[in-house]
Symmetry: C2
Subunit: 132 residues, 2 copies
């Protein structure tokens, strides 16, 4: 398969696939004309990467997952630990965003939002004190 075909099937831009080759995540063969040639196994890895990336795993985590993937003797516990770690991370991010949201909406509520120059949002950003 050429890169365009796998790109479509894996739902990844060709540029990204070339980049994944650059960082040695996928190693396609080459045809006589220099074109990359992908097998079904490569295809699998790319789809795996696409899924894992879209689930928020970093490239390095993907590398690890791929090595567990190809290791027939991996313990499922190892994989589960990675997934659970990721969930914790997501929880932290959500909490952070919520507190951020709370602060901002507090600011917005206190801002009359008309054409007067007086603006509590600006005032607060300048003073560093949060509305209660």
């Amino acid at each position: 398969m050429n890169i365009g075909t796998v790109a479509e099937r894996a739902n990844l831009p060709p540029k990204t696939i070339r980049y994944y080759e650059d960082i040695e995540l996928v190693k396609p063969a080459r045809l006589e004309n220099g074109y990359r040639s992908y097998t079904e196994v490569d295809m699998h890895r790319l789809r795996f990467l696409q899924r894992a990336r879209s689930l928020g795993f970093t490239i390095e985590e993907c590398r690890l997952l791929l090595s567990l993937y190809k290791d027939e003797n991996r313990a499922s516990a190892d994989v589960k630990a990675i997934a659970l770690g990721k969930i914790k991370e997501i929880d932290r991010k959500i909490a952070e965003l919520r507190s951020l949201r709370a602060t901002l909406s507090n600011l917005a509520i206190h801002c009359h939002g008309d054409d007067r120059p007086d603006c509590p949002i600006i005032d607060e950003l300048a003073s560093g004190e949060t509305f209660k």
Copy 2:
């Protein structure tokens, strides 16, 4: 004030403050010895930046907010609109993270997590089918 002092007072690393100068957000004077010299006004801007960045505003948004800040004739509506836009953005991010979290925890639940090589997480990443 030297950079170290403002760094501490604004709660920003000196490196970041120099970077902000590079991108022309803050323009400190220079002493004879070449050291950067910050006024209280610079200090204010840096604190403003620190707050706004930690609230998730991009550098360009900060630039905009700073220009509204120094514009005594700004309309508070303009600032409010920026804040409300940011809140929407945060809501989108939270929703995305939640769906991501749901998928991952679904995967983790189905994984027995012992030392057997069989692992539904890996299987799912490979197949692209989500557990229900």
